[in-house]
Amino acid sequence: MTLFLNQLINGLHVGSIYALIALGYTMVYGIVRLINFAHGDILMVGAYTAVVLTTMLGLPFPVVVVLVILVCVLFGVLIERIAYKPLRSSPRISSLITAIGVSMLLQNLALLIFTPTPKPYPFSLNIPPLSIGGLQIGFTTVLTIVVSAALMILLQVLVAKSRAGKSMRAVSEDYDAAQLMGINVNTTITFTFAIGCALAGIGSVLYGLAYPTVSPTLGSLPGLKAFIAAVLGGIGIIPGAMLGGLIMGLAESLTKAYISSRLSDAVVYGILIVVLLFKPSGLLGRRTREKV
């Protein structure tokens, strides 16, 4: 029972990180119908930012976190402006290929600047684990789950209630109609990329605390898994990304504990295939049928 609960908590830990990253994929897809394959690499950008800021400038952890978020937002916004915006009215395959290109560009830049030799993540939280009813839960785990949950609630409220959130929903439904309301589509898209990348920035800190090795390909695997999480939950649907991330994390950690650690990825992808067979739009995906 203790093993099961521990694995459950581990699953929630990784799953929360997947969910944070998946939100970036799904929000961007929802508004520009683009799978931003460079999104995972924003995680890597965030991790190296943390390395540079601490080893070269010796800044304290909280300051680094804020700067990491800002740098990730800056990268996301610049990528959108430079690489995706000029292609907005081109066929979708063009921007998809561009996204893969941007991903490779970022990884190779990191390879060039930081060499392939992994670097240690500059922080770890040396806070004793919490014991709750006989369970020992690492502080990083608690922090990750709490921070992610809070961010997801905040995001839901933002999208449902705020002016910016409503304009995002309007733009995601109909560019032209949104413009006829006086909504600036470009600003709204920039804002969406900014939010997605801010979440990835926070995700990169949480990921670094959990897996403290920084390499140029750091973003690939969590990026891929988060993308799958987004598809699993229903791409373009915010609660879907959260659900998908958590399911992926849980499936992964329970497979590792009870079946085989080598099979964990296979099980995760297997779940995706099964879900898509029965519900191609994802778990929370909707089949839109509108009256004309």
Binding site: A170, L180, M181, T288, E290
Partner: protein, 234 residues
């Protein structure tokens, strides 16, 4: 209020609008009638800044608006109810109306305008918490119009408000358009239903494959033999 001069518009190599000139005076209902594909929607899209025009001038309230980005035209008072309603189907009726008032800063006045819209369209009030996609076609048309009213337009441009609606609903919608105009909003109405459009408009222009071929008082065009034959089915 609106003056369009020698407007030309291309879709790739296709010359869609040829030297279109017309004007709308304050307080009027002006209608552009014509068959499917005549270029009516293109004119409204060009006026709203959604498609760029090759040459020509568009002046609104004396200001040249050809270079003004689409999303800023609403602030000037130029608001469009697009063809096919284009309501935000996953947002509620109330949220759709809020989107109409997106550029406005006068919160209290906006709150009052919700009641103004519900006065014009009582059915929207009953359904204000419903997703717009679940409304009937007529209700969606009402929502699209209410949404535009929330912007407090000086000139409201309507594209085919009768499309896909039953004759009774069409009557109702046109009565409301007349009411909106009587309340002080100038209206530019694009319609295939020439009979209805001419019956409420002050003046009209007849559009044929990108050219304005006739214009005059709506009452005169209702009696015009060519118009009767081509558009009124009598």
């Amino acid at each position: 209020m609106l003056k369009v001069d020698q407007l030309n518009l291309y879709y790739g190599a296709i010359h869609a609008l040829h030297d279109i000139s017309f004007h709308v005076n304050e307080g009027e209902i002006v209608t552009l009638i014509g068959a499917n594909g005549a270029g009516k929607t293109s004119i409204l899209y060009a006026l709203s800044g959604l498609i760029p025009c090759k040459s020509g001038e568009i002046a609104f309230d004396g200001q040249d608006i050809r270079k003004v980005p689409a999303h800023q035209l609403v602030t000037l008072g130029l608001v469009q109810v697009p063809e096919g309603r284009r309501v935000f189907s996953r947002m509620t009726v109330m949220e759709n109306l809020e989107m109409g008032a997106f550029t406005r800063k006068d919160r209290q006045e906006v709150d009052r305008d919700f009641y103004m819209v519900f006065d014009h369209f009582p059915r929207l009030k009953e359904r204000r918490r419903q997703a717009a996609g679940t409304l009937s076609g007529g209700e969606q048309q009402m929502l699209a119009m209410g949404r535009a009213l929330m912007a407090r337009p000086k000139l409201m441009m309507m594209d085919e408000p009768s499309m896909g609606l039953s004759p009774i609903l069409v009557q109702e919608i046109f009565a409301i358009i007349r009411g909106i105009n009587a309340d002080g909003t100038t209206v530019l109405l694009v319609e295939q239903n020439a009979n209805m459009a001419l019956s409420i408009a002050h003046r009209a222009y007849v559009l044929e494959t990108g050219d304005i071929v006739k214009d005059g008082p709506a009452s005169a065009l209702l009696q015009d033999e060519d118009v009767k034959k081509a558009y009124l089915g009598t």
